[in-house]
Amino acid sequence: MASIDIRNVRKNFGIVSVLHGVDLSLENGEFVVLVGPSGCGKSTLLRMIAGLEEVTEGEIRIDGIRVNERAPKDRDIAMVFQSYALYPHMNVAENMSYGLRIRKAAREKITAAVSNAARKLELQPLLARRPKALSGGQRQRVAMGRAIVRQPKAFLFDEPLSNLDARLREQMRAEIKKLHRDLGATSIYVTHDQIEAMTLADRIVAMHEGVVQQVGSPLELYDRPANLFVAGFIGSPAMNFLSARYEVSGGTAGARLPDGTLIALSSDYQLEEGAAVTLGIRPEHVEMSPASESSLRATVDLIEPTGFGIILHLGLHGLPFNVFTLDRAALTAGPTVTVAFPPPHLHLFDETGKRAASLQKGTG
């Protein structure tokens, strides 16, 4: 187990810059998830920590020691690849013990480590099989087993569940969480799946176009997204956005939509009167309500029952707008519905896309 410090790390591939100065530090035993869309630089960052990519600028420290110039083998880390990367000419036991064997560990130690890992991952009956005789989930387990037998300082996961089907992914997600609880090893996990990020992470690092957008606990990112990107990326179905103008009338703050409706806000913001803002609300926070002064009329385009709840695809002033509700009455919704936005659940972003600063604590 170890701490990991990343200081102002940059990466260029030729003239293309993919990471523009990343700072991040992981405490001992922490589970950090790097999340973002494809091409955001999260995998590159992980590979730089592993030593598979050179660091163009900046510094990476593991346990306080600079590792920029160290080969992967000298960093004492383990990595689980998206493609599993099992050695096809070795059986499961040989795959798991390869790292210990080339480090010339004692035979008893190897046997003990392999059988210990096999027990944890329920791989005992498969030890003599080759990777090609294993199912996707089993291969995934072997890849994890290979990582844990060496008891490395840190685990790196590069989208390890992307190749599994939905059900298996859920199952393995829980197993990874359990494994981390049992081993308590420092882990960095890369994914583009925000559900994986939310469920696994102690802290999430949301990345976009080579820049860290926000670092925080899963609920922090969900409740107080730092900018439009994080707001739109975390949460499913994604947050709705509406353009508006900030207004203070009669002592209360509000957002004026283009059609003239004034949406009440729960606090004042450090914004100028009339400033262009983006109003955000999560589909699950929209209320279906009887018509009132501050409610909006929307047309129903599509109704998607998920079993657990219902997603309504609406058209609001011609723009797509989603609502998630548990109320089954929504299944029979007419051609139009009225929706209302409870002020505590509204997010306000300024012209640059940053979260607008609220003048009162604990809200907005």
């Binding site: 592993a50 080339i102 190749n163």
Partner: protein
């Protein structure tokens, strides 16, 4: 639908059969002529098998001709060429597949260029180069020439095999504690055995049957290879077909044995299960 697919399969098999018969018939004829006694060769007309078989041609070729010398020379030349080319092509193929380095594009272009024109053009200059070095009329000279001409293609062949091995396997090995060379030797090389076998086989057969340079660079029987030796059965007034075919049959044996030996490495799918399958 089902009836159609049965019909399709039959048609498919028939096409394959036609091809196999077409490809193997000359070999069959070779065998047939080699066991036909001289007195029946022209007297029986066109028959699929002679009325009387005889191994007299084989006996003559093995005991009274220079064939054993040709055979030994060919073994040395083809064997040495195959081993040297495969060794060099593995290394260069790996480099082309995995590394980026300055001049890589031009190197590949140059290698491709050597494959673009007929070798006949090069016979005279090569003779001129090898002669002062004392490499004409020598097996070493032939090995050098064959190696040079086979390396480009063998390199591309090996490169395509290395390209087929996922990079992640080496990366996983490096993270597990291997150096670049250990990852190559312990992970990549065992998975490239089919490629190595194919390259060995390809180069061996190419060198085994090469005639042009063997004919131009070698004079006299002592350093002649088997394809050149075959021509000794053609004399000014007649061709001894029986003996020539017997020598041909004997020459097929090492190539057959070689492929029998390497065929188990030629199996596909050795990398199955490495990455998502």
């Amino acid at each position: 639908m089902n009836r159609y697919s049965t019909f399709g399969t039959a048609l498919h098999r028939l096409a394959i059969l036609c091809y196999v018969v077409f490809a193997l018939f000359p070999l069959f004829w070779l065998l047939k002529v080699s066991v036909t006694p001289n007195d029946l060769l022209y007297s029986e007309g066109v028959r699929m098998w002679p009325s009387r078989m005889s191994f007299e041609h084989f006996r003559f070729v093995l005991a009274h001709s220079a064939f054993p010398v040709f055979f030994r020379n060919s073994m040395i030349v083809a064997g040495a060429t195959a081993v040297i080319v495969t060794l060099l092509a593995s290394l260069s193929g790996y480099a082309l597949s995995r590394f980026t380095f300055r001049g890589k594009y031009w190197l590949v272009a140059l290698m491709l260029l050597t494959q673009m024109f007929p070798l006949v053009m090069l016979v005279a200059p090569i003779f001129k180069m090898l002669s002062p070095l004392g490499l004409t009329n020598s097996l070493t000279g032939l090995v050098v020439v064959y190696t040079a001409f086979n390396i480009p293609f063998a390199t591309f062949l090996m490169q395509s095999f290395f390209d087929g091995i996922p990079k992640e396997l080496e990366e996983a090995a490096k993270i597990d504690g291997a150096t670049q060379f250990m990852a190559f030797r312990q992970i990549v090389l065992p998975l490239t055995l089919p490629g190595i076998a194919a390259t060995l086989g390809f180069v061996f057969t190419a060198a085994w049957s090469e005639l042009l340079f063997a004919l131009m660079l070698i004079s006299g029987n002592s350093a002649a290879t088997f394809p050149v030796g075959l021509l000794t059965f053609v004399s000014k007034f007649s061709v001894d077909f029986g003996q020539m075919m017997a020598a041909g049959v004997l020459a097929l044996i090492p190539a057959c044995l070689f492929f029998l030996f390497i065929q188990r490495y030629l199996v596909q799918g050795l990398t199955a299960g490495a990455v998502k399958g």
